[in-house]
């Protein structure tokens, strides 16, 4: 009814792998953009700032890791937050799962060998951090007691391993593709071995916002579906690599893996794996990052994505 389009601010952290960083590159495909809604994509340094922004109504659609979602609900008390879409999932069969590397010459052959070692992480409480802790815990290792955690930026992880600052590092895409890492390091375990499928990142919005702008949000989801599907369409691969290259300033050849089987799984209908999400949130709670158990179903609202998908049939 209102002539003003609804402003939707979307968050992203890592370029290319977060949808919000690239959807605007194909805004010509969108049907409703600029009419019923507009998008601003904003880069955040990390989830803590996103949670603050959501609380202050500074951010309409945020891409939260499962751990951050648990923290937002359990600790920040954002009760009206709703999971509305999938961003990517780790460990889906046939797709990439994050790998955890040690040096070939380190003598570490199983997880138990990490006792007394230094383990690299990108920051306590992140999705990757929790995967590491959960895996090590499964093998009877506790942080501080049995190993030391060392924080560093993800891109620097391979170098940290190779320069012997850390004994185990997480290798996520695209840093896992580092040739020297492949040469001098070896995979100790894959994330799916312990966590199975991980619903790594989901899109969320506040219920109050969804209720108020339902129509616009369905339009938004519809356009997002069109765009994300375009990106995942193998025949667009060359152009996708060009876009990625333009954004990251890396040569397009480096993006051969992007949105292929070698990449993590992204749902074509933007529907998250709620069952996996519940498991992941439970692990987060197990490790003590949030106090109480969270029933994640209460916080999922897939109606927007489903309605949008229906329109595209």
């Amino acid at each position: 009814n209102s002539a003003e389009p609804v402003k939707i601010r979307m968050s992203w952290v890592a370029p290319v792998s977060n949808w919000a960083s690239i959807v605007l590159e194909k805004k010509d495909l969108a049907k409703h953009m600029g009419k019923s809604y507009t998008i601003e994509s904003i880069r955040y340094q990390g989830t803590p700032q996103m949670i603050a922004a959501i609380a202050n109504n500074e951010l309409e659609v945020s891409n939260l890791a499962y751990s951050s979602l648990a923290i937002a609900i359990g600790n920040a008390g954002l009760e009206d937050i709703r999971v509305i879409a999938d961003e990517f999932q780790d460990g889906v069969p046939g797709h990439y799962s994050s790998q955890y590397y040690v040096r070939k010459d380190s003598g570490i052959n199983k997880v138990e060998d990490l006792k007394g070692k230094v383990v690299g992480t990108n920051g306590g409480g992140s999705a990757i951090d929790i995967a590491i802790r959960a895996t090590l815990k499964k093998h009877g290792l506790e942080e501080k007691r049995d190993y030391t955690m060392l924080e560093g930026p993800l891109p620097a992880m391979p170098a940290m391993l190779l320069e012997k600052k850390a004994d185990l590092i997480p290798a996520v895409l695209p840093f896992a593709l580092n040739p020297k890492l492949k040469e001098e390091g070896k995979v100790l375990f894959e994330q799916r071995e312990t966590l199975g499928v991980t619903q790594m990142i989901v899109w969320t919005a506040r219920k109050s916002f969804i209720d108020k702008n339902r129509a616009a949000m369905v339009d938004f989801m519809e356009d997002m579906l069109i765009i994300t599907r375009w990106y995942q369409d193998p025949k667009n691969h060359a152009e996708v690599a060009q876009i990625a290259s333009k954004i990251t300033k890396a040569p397009p050849e480096r993006f051969g893996w992007l949105f292929t089987k070698a990449d993590t799984y992204r749902d074509p209908n933007l529907i998250p794996n709620v069952e996996a999400l519940q498991r992941n949130v439970d692990v987060t709670q197990d490790l003590g990052f949030v106090k109480n158990k969270i029933d994640i179903k209460k916080y999922v609202d897939l109606s927007l994505a489903q309605e949008a998908a229906k329109r595209l049939k």
Binding site: A52, A76, G123, G124, G125, E151, G152, P153, K165
Partner: protein, 268 residues
Amino acid sequence: MPPDGWPEKAARFTYIVVTRFFSIAVLLAAWEILARSGTFTPFQLPALSNVLLRIWQDAVTGDLAINTALTLYRALVSFAICAVGGVAIGMAMSRNRLAHWFFDPIISVGFPMPKIAFLPVIILWLGVYDVSKISIIVIDAIFPVIAATVIAIQGIERELLWSARNMGAREREMLWQIVLPAALPQIMTGLQVALPLTLIVAVVAEMLMGGYGLGGAMMTASRFANSTGVFAGIVEIAVIGYCLVKAMALLRRRLLIWHQEANEPTTA
């Protein structure tokens, strides 16, 4: 005038405390009222009383002491390095053309450089432990000291230098006995800027690299959306910082007792 009895002294002391902390008290009261008014969720703005309670809990468990000690240690060690190194480089630059040639452009480039960007390099070179943290703090906080020293030395009255030379002071002695005290007021200003900077950068470095320390604790709290913990960190740093700043001002007053500024300005 009757001699000062304790009631007068106590009254005076109370008066000073009340006036000195009046504005802070108002600020804190506003905080508590605002937080309790329901305008904000506890995540956005936790109540002061809860924050204090949290600090108290940390104090009881000993976390507060460990974190404070670590952060202070890093900040103060870096400060000592900045003070000694900054003044030395500044003096060398003012008295030695080679040193000036070398450092002058480097300072102009290095001073405004966003040094955070070099974090990965520093981590790879120096690790994430104290050495790398202290190095980051030093490269961030040393510049104000150098700049202040250079400009202070430029402003020294030439007759003072002449006087000392005349009485037989050698170059080395001049530096210690004349250049340093004559430049001290402005050098102190540089140090007064550098000290809080070391604390700030110490906390920021801890936030970026994790581990123990007030910054690490704050970062952890922030990752877990624990606002009370974040604000507890803010309060702790504010208190520590306030003490450091005050101590520095006291030191300045002691050292510069001879200086014009020791007198209250008259005819204001």
